[in-house]
């Protein structure tokens, strides 16, 4: 019976060493500060997604530098992190907690109810819908502000360029490769399709979904499929997955269009990008909070007019006439004379 005793010794020693090394109480780092603290909770895309979450973190970092506020960034690695992350933000003294997207809506509503004195904001989500409003559309929590984006307006602008480029290349077909068929994706494609067909009547718009926001190969497959159906320009609306779309466009010698952030440098043949400034949203609501102008129970809307939406660098291969046409669309949208649909029919 020598081995079991040996085992026990190892176990006991290990436990003792662990206890000694790790054991003492964690220091409570409660530093009293006069300045505002703003927290950002990511969804499970994490802050390393080169897009939606990371961009919002950039907005928070900018707010910290320019506004001198304290910031807390909390990453959700799985759904089980949502609630503890909100809890942690509030316990660390956050006056405003920003949720990075719709996945956090349910948790945010729970916390908004539980902590009426804390302010909350949510990216890409309106407070005029469940779970922040009741069935009659009445807003339930006056401490939650929605940050909404008119992505259809940027989608429209890239759609104009796409249709004109395809026409120039002797085709009549353009495509969009979405991640998953959800409203935040379809709002881009709705604007894209609408304005493409307005700019060049008779343009065929192929719309397919890769069912993924991460795996580039899946977007590449869908993109290749659309290229084989004659698409001359492909709009990627699938986050990181969409890099596959841009690569497929490169390989086929057609044009790709980036999304969310300026993706001009991510491939050789990027016509332009539809840009959604979620960083501006985070910055704006943090600034509101600091200045005591937080407007709970309402949405803060971002569009072409206030610079919350835009487009990225345009390839020099794009004829100036096309850009001029696009700018005329932009002027009409800003003036309110052109209404772009926000949902696919």
């Amino acid at each position: 019976m020598r081995i079991p005793r040996w085992t026990a010794v190892i176990a006991v020693v290990t436990i003792c060493v662990a206890a000694a090394a790790l054991g003492t109480a964690g220091s409570s780092n409660a530093k009293p500060t006069a300045s505002t603290t703003v927290a950002l909770v990511s969804d499970i895309g994490k802050f390393t997604d080169h897009g939606f979450n990371q961009n919002q973190l950039a907005g928070l970092t900018r707010a910290k530098a320019k506004l001198g506020i304290n910031t807390i960034s909390l990453q959700s690695n799985s759904a089980s992190d949502y609630s503890p992350n909100f809890n942690s933000a509030i316990r660390k003294g956050a006056k405003l907690v920003i949720a990075a997207g719709f996945l956090l809506a349910g948790t945010e509503a729970t916390y908004a109810k539980q902590f009426p004195n804390v302010h909350f904001a949510i990216t890409d989500y309106t407070v005029h819908t469940s779970p922040f409003s009741n069935k009659k559309g009445k807003v339930l929590y006056n401490n939650v502000e929605g940050l909404t984006y008119q992505a259809n307006e940027s989608g429209c602008l890239v759609g104009v360029l796409a249709a004109k480029m395809a026409h120039k290349m002797g085709g009549d077909t353009i495509g969009a490769v979405g991640g998953v068929k959800i409203p935040p994706v379809d709002i881009w494609i709705a604007g894209y399709k609408f304005c493409a067909q307005k700019a060049v009547p008779g343009t065929k718009v192929l719309i397919q979904y890769s069912q993924d926001f991460v795996a580039t190969d899946k977007c590449k497959t869908v993109a290749t499929n659309e290229i084989s159906q004659g698409a001359k320009v492909l709009f990627q609306v699938a986050g990181g997955c969409g890099l596959g779309t841009l690569q497929a466009a490169d390989d086929a010698g057609i044009w790709g269009i980036g999304v969310d952030v300026d993706q001009y440098k991510l491939a050789k043949r990027v016509l332009t990008s539809g840009v959604k400034r979620v960083d501006n949203g985070v910055f704006a609501v943090a600034q509101q909070e600091q200045q005591g102008q937080f407007k709970g129970g309402t949405d803060l809307n971002f569009d072409l007019k206030n610079g919350g939406m835009g487009i990225g660098k345009i390839s020099p291969s794009c004829p100036p006439a096309f850009i001029k046409l696009m700018n005329s669309y932009k002027a009409k949208i800003i003036a309110g004379t052109l209404k772009v649909p926000s949902a696919l029919k």
């Binding site: 190892i10 969804d43 759904a79 992350n85 539980q114 819908t129 469940s130 069935k135 068929k181």
Partner: protein
Amino acid sequence: MAEQDDAPTVAGRLALAQRAGGAAGPVLTAVFALLLGGFVVLATGANPLSTYRAIFDGSGLNWLFPWVSGSARSFAATNLQQTLLLTTALVLCGLAVSVGFRCGLFNIGGQGQYIVGSIFALWIGSSFVTMNGPLHVVLAIAAATLTGAAYAGIAGLLKAITGAHEVISTIMLNWIAVWVGSWLVGQGGALQSHANGASVPISSAVAPATHLHVFWGNPVLQGLDVGFFFALAALVVYAVLLNRTTLGFELRAVGFNPEAARYAGIAVARTYVKTMAIAGAFAGLAGAIDVLGWEFQLGVTDIQTSQIGFIAIAVAVLGRNRALGVFFSALLFGALLTGTSTRNLDATVFRPDLAGNLTLIIQGLVVLFVGADVLMLWLWNRRRRLRVAT
């Protein structure tokens, strides 16, 4: 010596590990994995000791020390609740993998069985809202457990009838579960929430009456629910089933040597099906407990990114497929996951975005060391024999 000849067989290795004494292998494996993880921490320029200490404190396990008091203690309590919530799911999914191993089956399908269980619990829980509360809970849990069992049973049945390898079939069943689940809660899916024009790919929430009772912490803010006791009970059931019942004996006999078991009159094919069904029941129960305990609703992305069933493989491997071992290794991984979260790990100690990967590294090392520590113990045994001989 006879055991030198049979060393390559699974049964031989298992017997060797057991002869070498229960806890030595797993403890050494964990220590080595943490040690190597420490070198990784060192390579990033951080201090491994203070990092591990921060992770330990972040996991809430410092709550067990009586000298932790005040706000640190209440922080520790919230953290420990999260660790134990993860432990609950990891124990149950770990048992789903373990029971397979004991029968010589490699059940990689824990994730799929977990998803099937959570979907059925979600469906029952979010429908029939006028039903009597306790009855509703029982129905949701029973449905999840049974469908989990049936789902895993498919892989068992395929193995029994056609000899299809369970590794392949359970992996494929995982994907079927992921995509059917995504379809159900996704845009236009049968379980998608349509409340007030919301059009995001998230399901409705389960009825408040079906929420499991929270016995520690704030019931609204994800405290620890009674599902934890289900996991503890499942460990007892597992130990009794394997060691004190005929089915358990048959299961282990098939695991050691299916041909010998068949020769001894055990219905091997039937045992495969039963074992997979038991595995699926554990994983399905885990899905139900998560949905009714803290998750309440499921989004497409939640289903697609959940990893619990895969971490459970490392749990089973490290726990040597024994009830007590599974409990402690589930606790270890639950603590690592909670301790390395960005909310708990101070960025000045170790970069939290790297810390998440530290858990993955340790998980990988644990699986890698399975073979290595059996080798180590074999060398140890040889060394002893040599010493006796001289």
